[in-house]
Symmetry: C3
Subunit: 278 residues, 3 copies
């Protein structure tokens, strides 16, 4: 890529990318943006999405892991999927070696992205002067997380926000299993088109195929019909199913101009197997 154009202000506020399961019906996300505008009027706020499946920490973690690399280096990711709000789970912020910074509950939602970016420091968001004056037990997005992201965006150092923590609560994702000439994974995410995204990565599939000296693999969902892996949705006729390595380098099951989730009646957790053609 050509060199980035220079920001017009010397010390421009870092952009804040928001990721929540709050949906688009209520004013909750809007209120968080009001809090940010109040503290950091120059911060650019970008909606990553607010349409995550309600309270699905895993979906949030995957979306964040697939997104952070595409943002400006010092972007702050404000990720609030927080079924445990008001309980003992800690509000945290993370600085990473890649530059990206993360704010959210310590329940696994930040885990995959922060690991990829290389954790440099984790702090607990305990300093009262960087929270709103009254902290509710139901809306830490507004009272703790949005203020922290805004202060970070306008230059507040991580260590001012609270004490350094040792560890992050991990997120347990299912791993693919190989048995003989078959590799078995599962659906970990269903996108808005009904595409079934699996935990089978391009690199894993390539290594698996190479070990059998073939490039020819067959994909099968829940013991149903076999499908080949295609390069583009347009490679099959309208209405036909296909397997494809999607835009995040994960194997997906799709139906051209349709929904694989509806067609196959499958959801998160469905088994997907990949076999070597004999």
């Amino acid at each position: 890529m050509p060199p980035r154009s220079q920001p017009s202000q010397k010390s421009a506020a870092a952009p804040i990318a928001m990721l929540t399961d709050f949906g688009y019906r209520d004013h909750y996300v809007g209120v968080m943006k009001g809090v940010i505008a109040n503290i950091a009027p120059d911060a650019c706020v970008i909606d990553l999405t607010h349409g995550l499946p309600p309270q699905s920490v895993t979906a949030g973690a995957i979306a964040l892991a697939h997104s952070w690399r595409y943002f400006p280096k010092r972007a702050i990711f404000l990720a609030v999927v927080d079924p445990g709000v008001g309980t003992t789970r800690l509000p945290i912020a993370i600085d990473t070696r890649a530059g990206a910074r993360f704010v959210g509950p310590d329940n696994g939602v930040l885990y995959l992205a922060a690991k990829e970016a290389g954790i440099k420091r984790i702090v607990g968001l305990r300093s009262p002067q960087f929270r709103l004056t009254n902290v509710s037990s139901t809306f830490h997005g507004r009272d703790i997380f949005a203020p922290a992201a805004a202060w970070m965006s306008s230059g507040t150092r991580l260590t001012a926000l609270g004490p350094t923590l040792k560890d992050l609560t991990p997120l347990a994702l299912p791993l693919p299993q190989q048995r003989g000439r078959t590799l078995t994974g599962e659906v970990i995410y269903v996108d808005g088109y009904g595409n079934l995204v699996t935990n089978l990565e391009r690199a894993t599939l390539e290594a698996f195929a190479a070990s059998f000296r073939t490039a020819s693999l067959l994909v099968r969902i829940a013991k149903g019909t076999s499908m080949e892996i295609f390069q583009a949705y347009g490679d099959v006729p309208s209405g036909a199913p296909l397997a494809i390595l999607g835009s995040f380098e994960l194997l997906e099951i799709a139906v051209r101009d349709g929904s694989a989730a509806s067609s196959f009646g499958m959801a998160v957790g469905a088994s997907v197997s990949v076999s070597v053609v004999k």
Copy 2:
């Protein structure tokens, strides 16, 4: 809170927070943002929400009343829930003692927030030079309201927009009723999680409890099961119902990891009673 960081430009345009029932399917909200960008290219536009229940003036008024305090002092709230568009209801703008400014139809949607912020001046948006050239009878959001908000954001004085008006059309909200040891309110809003938000405020409940020298209250929806008031969603097991003082200081009925609206089959208008434990 620590002092706000200073905006980098001396006379930065005031942010515009938008609240509509236009939904996310069509280009209507986007067109309004185009109109704003045309008039006030530096104005920061913040989506409060566009997912209000269609044509529900009450839902808009409540969302606005719960939100405005969290925004920068001189923010402009552009609220368009306008079932009477093209009829005799007036398009108005309001300046308040708290600093917040409001633009929208005079049908009650601005009422609660403007009252709280302290009305300083109301004007009718009659000046043709601050509207688009052709005003339709179906889309005043684009033709009248967005231009007014944009001109206000770039410094146009309220009195330039049209003649001063005396009064605002009020919004009639139901008030809780006390009979003996029972206080009865109702559901006034159902949020996207299915939480049932009532018209019972924390202060009202505290005064009610104090008058009986108790802190122990039982909540009942539509004569169903009694629930205690908890501090956090996480205080009950997954799937269990609870009452809670939500993030806007109103009593809510919720179901942990679920939807109270679905579980109880309840909607706006459902009766909620609070009784002193004997």
Copy 3:
């Protein structure tokens, strides 16, 4: 309109208006915004909508044609409705005599708006240095279109992006047919309120009425009840159907405080006839 307020920076980045069918559930749109922020940190990104009916090139073309005029003169429209992603359809950018610029697939989605704005130059987005390093076959929004829009916004000239092309793939829209005293069109778009938007333009209807020296027309959908054309939704009682010239100068069938799509059970393609009152 009074003169536009001056942008505060001499060479401010042109705003980018996004229009997709990606929906609000996934992080796809957010990732495109990350890519834009990375290349053009000062560009203001405006959501036109992401709620287009999935893979409906026609709906995208209509929304864009109805919107572009309301935006700042040099706005860049990034329109991604792309069922043929990864196949032979070309990624393109267009400069127009009106000033507006368009980026998207050459499948008709840009056609109506670009024709209206007056095509000056079309280029194929072939230059690798203005794409992301790895171009997937499933997400050109992220890998080709968003980078192109961002580079254009920060001043890159169209001719740097790729070779000039001669023609645009046209979009075939149905045309109204006149037979005697009846003009027949059809529903081309259903908006989020359930309003049925037709291909009958105000000018066409006025010429039709004038040719019979009348102003009195009756509208009928799919041979059902006749309706008059009203000025405002509020001109009929709640729940009543009406015909109206909507905010985009097209004849619409609506139901006050309701959904015409549900009431009439009609969708895109339904026949709508307009007759002279005898």
